[in-house]
Amino acid sequence: MVFIFNPFTKIAGGKALWIGGLFAILTLAISYFSHSAFDGVIDFHVAPFTSIWPYVSFYIISWLCLVLFLGLTGLLFTKTRFRWIDILGTTLLSRAPLLLVALAAFAIPYIDKEQLSDITQIHFTAGFFIASFFSLICIIWTVALYYNSYRVCINIYGSKAVWTFILALILAEITSLVFIHSIHFK
């Protein structure tokens, strides 16, 4: 049980990077077919694109924003000489539960702006609610993994670990959204 929330006491660095990379490739391949876009550090939306590249770019931008802010927080708030490869690897591996979200997205239909304006006309199935709830659980799991990755790589603990992590996560989320929207939706 501990291992699924904190595998980083055993796996980090290059090993975490290639395992996380394998999960990322699988997730993105499924994303393309289930139209699941991970357009932010903790974001997930169903959005159909004709090419796989928006899904890939969203995934990479979100990941790198998280790496950047967790690393900067580490530089500012701890004296530990951490390795960037550990943050890169463990954060990528932390995103492994998104594979399950990409699978769950097959049960979540795309809802466009017109449909959203009259929500009463949308027919929500039981599958939609189950898949949405399951996706939410997986994203919470991902955030828990982000936190443990941060704790292990930066060697930070206690309340300082919690508030610096929240700060880094919020900044990474905002930055990733700004980047994604300025690159893709301009």
């Binding site: 980083f8 006491t9 055993k10 796996i11 980090a12 660095g13 975490a16 530990t80 000489r81 951490f82 390795r83 550990d86 292990v152 790589c153 060697n155």
Partner: protein
């Protein structure tokens, strides 16, 4: 039975000092007031870690392989041992 070096006073829980040492060859006894070095005051598992770390030529990577732990986890253990030694020295 493996004997452990007692480092805490059973009465007041302060660190113990060394008062007597003896030569098992000629039975000479040396009596005085000697402080234990900081490394001897560390918990047993930390002493073992230090010993293994020196044997591994100070390589965190090698230690990680030997302990089946990740590199940052071993580095964090090392950081905590360093912190303990610094506290003991102060």
């Amino acid at each position: 039975m493996e004997k452990r070096l007692p480092i805490y006073c059973p009465s007041c829980n302060s660190f113990l000092d060394v008062e007597a040492m003896s030569c098992h060859h000629c039975h000479t006894k040396v009596v005085g007031d000697y402080k234990l070095p900081p490394i001897m005051l560390l918990p047993e598992e930390d002493q073992k870690f230090m010993l293994d770390f020196v044997k591994a030529s100070g390589s965190i990577k090698l230690m990680a392989e030997q302990m089946s732990l990740s590199y940052p986890t071993v580095r964090n253990i090392l950081d905590s041992v360093i912190e303990k030694i610094k506290n003991l020295e102060n």
